[in-house]
C-alpha cells in the first residue's frame, strides 16, 4: 500500500517537475492525443494506465523530445520548454525507457548500457570503464546477465528490459519516463524493477512517469494515477483516493458504451467527465 507522503511534494501551488498544457498530437488522420493536461510533482511517481493505442507511448515520446506536439506545451519546473530532441530532453534531465527498449541487438550489453553517453579517452571509447560500470550497475540492481560482452540479441526479454531500465536509472535523471518497464518480465525481475522504483521514490529526487498495465503494480509504487482513454486523460487521482475497482469500472464502462452506440465514445467521455460535453471526434 502507498505510504502517506510529505504533502508538499505534490502541493498544487508549487511548480510541478513536469506539467503539460493542452498537448495534442496527430499522426495523419489518427489523433493520438488531445488536450493533455498532466502534472507530476517533484519526487512523485505517476502511473499512466490505459488500453492499447490509448496514446500512452505517444505522450511519453513527446515528453522525451522524440515527437513534437501539434498543440500545447510542456513546462519543467514551471518554465515552458520546447523539447527539440531526445538529446535536448536528456540535457534537461529527462531519461526514458522506451517500450521497444531502444536496444541495439548487435552491440554488447556494456555498449547498450552507455548508448549515446559513452565515456571516452580522447576520440576512443573507454571500453574498460564501460564494462566495469556495466557490471557494477547490473550487480547493484541484482540482475544477472551472462556477460556484459554478450550481444543483446542473445538475452531474454527480461534481461533486455533490465538493461534498458538500468541505462536510465544510472543517469543523472531528474525525470524518469518508463514505458511498460515490467512487460516481458518474470515475477523476480519485475520485483527488482519495482524495488528500484520504490528506492528512487524514497530518495525523492527523481520524478517518475511510469506506464503500467497491471493495476496492482500501480497501487504498489505510484503516488498518483492517470487513466488515458482514446488520447484523453479521463481520470487523475491520488492512488489512496481510488481503487482497482474504480479503475476497472471506468474501463468496463468504455467497453459497454464504445461497443453499443455510434456516438459511444463521446457519450462515454461526457459520462466520465460529468460535464455533458461530448468528445470532439466521432
Amino acid at each position: 500500500m502507498t505510504a502517506p507522503r510529505d504533502p508538499s511534494l505534490t502541493d498544487e501551488a508549487a511548480p510541478a517537475a513536469v506539467r503539460t498544457e493542452g498537448l495534442a498530437k496527430r499522426f495523419g488522420t489518427v489523433t493520438a492525443l488531445r488536450d493533455i493536461n498532466l502534472r507530476v510533482g517533484h519526487g512523485e511517481v505517476l502511473g499512466l494506465i490505459g488500453d492499447n493505442g490509448a496514446g500512452k507511448s505517444t505522450l511519453v515520446k513527446i515528453l522525451t523530445g522524440f515527437h513534437q506536439p501539434d498543440e500545447g506545451r510542456v513546462l519543467l519546473n514551471g518554465e515552458p520548454v520546447e523539447l527539440r530532441s531526445v538529446q535536448h530532453a536528456r540535457s534537461l534531465g529527462i531519461e526514458t525507457v522506451f517500450q521497444d527498449l531502444a536496444l541495439v541487438n548487435t552491440l554488447p550489453v556494456y555498449m547498450n548500457l552507455h548508448l549515446n553517453k559513452e565515456p571516452r579517452i580522447g576520440p576512443f571509447l573507454d571500453k574498460r570503464r564501460m564494462r566495469a560500470q556495466a557490471r557494477r550497475y547490473l550487480d547493484d540492481i541484482g540482475i544477472s546477465i551472462p556477460s556484459v560482452n554478450a550481444e543483446v540479441a542473445n538475452l531474454s526479454g527480461g534481461q533486455r528490459q533490465a538493461i534498458a531500465v538500468a541505462r536510465s536509472v544510472y543517469s543523472d535523471a531528474k525525470i524518469l519516463l518508463l514505458d511498460e518497464p515490467l512487460a516481458a518480465m518474470g515475477a523476480k525481475e519485475g520485483g527488482i524493477i519495482l524495488d528500484l522504483v520504490r528506492m528512487l521514490r524514497e530518495r525523492g529526487d527523481v520524478s517518475i512517469i511510469m506506464i503500467v498495465h497491471n493495476y496492482a503494480q500501480v497501487f504498489d509504487v505510484c503516488d498518483r494515477v492517470n487513466l488515458l482513454q482514446h488520447g484523453e486523460i479521463t481520470l487523475d487521482k491520488r492512488t489512496e483516493d481510488t481503487s482497482v475497482e474504480e479503475l476497472l469500472d471506468l474501463v468496463a464502462t468504455e467497453y459497454r458504451t464504445g461497443g453499443k452506440f455510434a456516438a459511444g465514445r463521446g457519450q462515454y467521455l461526457s459520462e466520465v467527465r460529468g460535464d455533458g460535453t461530448p468528445g470532439s471526434a466521432a
Binding site: A102, N105, L125, K127, P146, A150
Partner: protein
C-alpha cells in the same frame, strides 16, 4: 521453470578474446558460447582461406606468383577494392549501399587533372577540390536516400549514371595522362614500389576498423543499422550517421581512383573502375563477413575479402585458367559467404525468439 536470468551452472565459460572480460570470468551458456566463437571464426575464416589460397598458388606457380611484379598486381587489385570497401562496409553496417562508387573512382582523378592542367591548380589543391566534388555526390546520395526516403539502391543507381555521364562529358572519353614524378606521385603512389598503393589501403582499412570498433562514430553506425528507431530514440542522429557513410564512401572511392591511376597505368581512364570494381568492393565486404542486413560488419574482413579475390584472379590468370572461371568462382564465393553469414546470424539469434 524457465528462468533465463539465473545462470545455468553447467554453462561453459565463454572463450573471450578480451583479457578484461576473461578476468571477470564472464559466463555464457554452451550453445550461445559456441555461436559467439563461430562469429569470431567468421572473420578468421576469410583470413585462413586467403592464406591457403596464397600458399596453393605460391607452391604451384613459384616465382611467377611470388615475384615482385606479380605481388604488385595482386596488391593493386586488392588496394582499390579494399579502399572502396572501407566505405561500403560503413554503409552496409548502417543498412545502405553505394552503387555509384565505381564511377566516382573514375571521375575524381580526371577532375583533378583537368583542374591541374586547365585551371593551373597545384596537384595537391586539385586533389582536394576533386575529393570535395566526390564528397558532394556522396552527400547528394545521402540526402536523397535519407530525407526523401528512397532506397539507396535507386538513389545510387541514378548517381552511377549521372557521374559516369559527367565523366565522359568532361573527359571526352579518352584517358588523361597521370603525373609520373614529383612529390605528389612519391607521396600517393610511387611507381617504383609495388607496395606503395596497398600501404594506403592498409592504412585506411586500419583507421576505419578502429573507427568502427572503438569510436562513437562506429558504435552509432552499428546502432543505426542494428535498430534504426531504437537508436533514434536513444538520441543518436541516425540520419546524420547514414549521410556521413555515403560521404566517406564517395571520398574513399575518389581517392582510390587517384592512387590507382597514378600507380599502374599512369593514366586516368574515364572508363576505369566502373561497376566491376564497385561490385568487387561489395563482394569483398560480403566475403569478409559484413552482412547486408546492417548492424554488423568488419573493415579488416573486407580487406581480406579483396585480397582473396585478388589472389584468386591473379592465380587463375597465371595458371592459364580463363577469366570466366574466376568470375564463376567469385559468384560461388559470394553466395557461400552470404549463406555462412546469415546461417550464423540465425544460429546466434535462433535460441531467442523475440
Amino acid at each position: 521453470m524457465a528462468d533465463p536470468v539465473t545462470s545455468d551452472p553447467s554453462a561453459a565459460d565463454a572463450a573471450d578474446l578480451d583479457a578484461t572480460a576473461a578476468a571477470a570470468r564472464v559466463r555464457s551458456t554452451g550453445l550461445r558460447g559456441v555461436g559467439q566463437n563461430l562469429m569470431r571464426l567468421r572473420e578468421l575464416s576469410v583470413v585462413l582461406v586467403t592464406a591457403v589460397l596464397f600458399a596453393y598458388f605460391a607452391i604451384g606457380q613459384g616465382s611467377a606468383f611470388t615475384g615482385k611484379d606479380n605481388l604488385g598486381n595482386i596488391a593493386n587489385y586488392t588496394s582499390a577494392a579494399a579502399i572502396i570497401a572501407a566505405g561500403e562496409v560503413m554503409l552496409l553496417v548502417c543498412g545502405e549501399i553505394d552503387l555509384s562508387a565505381g564511377m566516382t573512382f573514375a571521375m575524381t582523378p580526371i577532375l583533378m587533372m583537368l583542374l591541374h592542367n586547365n585551371q593551373g591548380l597545384p596537384l595537391g589543391i586539385a586533389l582536394v577540390v576533386a575529393l570535395l566534388v566526390a564528397a558532394a555526390f556522396g552527400l547528394f546520395n545521402g540526402l536523397v536516400t535519407v530525407l526523401l526516403r528512397l532506397p539507396a539502391f535507386i538513389t545510387t543507381l541514378g548517381t552511377l549514371y549521372l557521374v559516369h555521364g559527367l565523366t565522359l562529358k568532361v573527359a571526352g572519353s579518352h584517358p588523361e595522362p597521370a603525373p609520373t614524378d614529383g612529390t605528389f606521385v612519391q607521396v600517393f603512389a610511387s611507381q617504383s614500389h609495388w607496395w606503395s598503393e596497398i600501404v594506403w589501403a592498409i592504412a585506411i582499412v586500419v583507421v576505419m576498423q578502429i573507427v568502427l570498433t572503438s569510436t562513437r562514430w562506429g558504435a552509432y553506425t552499428i546502432a543505426t543499422g542494428g535498430n534504426y528507431l531504437g537508436a533514434a530514440e536513444a538520441g543518436i542522429k541516425v540520419r546524420a550517421m547514414k549521410i556521413r557513410a555515403f560521404v566517406i564512401t564517395a571520398v574513399f572511392a575518389g581517392f582510390a581512383g587517384v592512387l590507382d591511376g597514378i600507380h599502374t597505368p599512369q593514366s586516368f581512364d574515364p572508363n576505369a573502375g566502373g561497376n566491376d570494381l564497385m561490385f568487387t568492393a561489395v563482394a569483398a565486404s560480403v566475403i569478409g563477413g559484413t552482412a547486408l542486413l546492417g548492424g554488423s560488419g568488419t573493415v579488416i574482413g573486407a580487406l581480406f575479402g579483396a585480397l582473396l579475390l585478388g589472389i584468386l584472379q591473379d592465380g587463375f590468370n597465371i595458371k592459364g585458367l580463363s577469366v570466366n572461371t574466376f568470375i564463376m568462382v567469385e559468384g560461388i564465393a559470394i553466395i557461400l559467404a552470404m549463406v555462412l553469414n546469415t546461417q550464423l546470424t540465425r544460429f546466434r539469434r535462433g535460441a531467442r525468439a523475440e
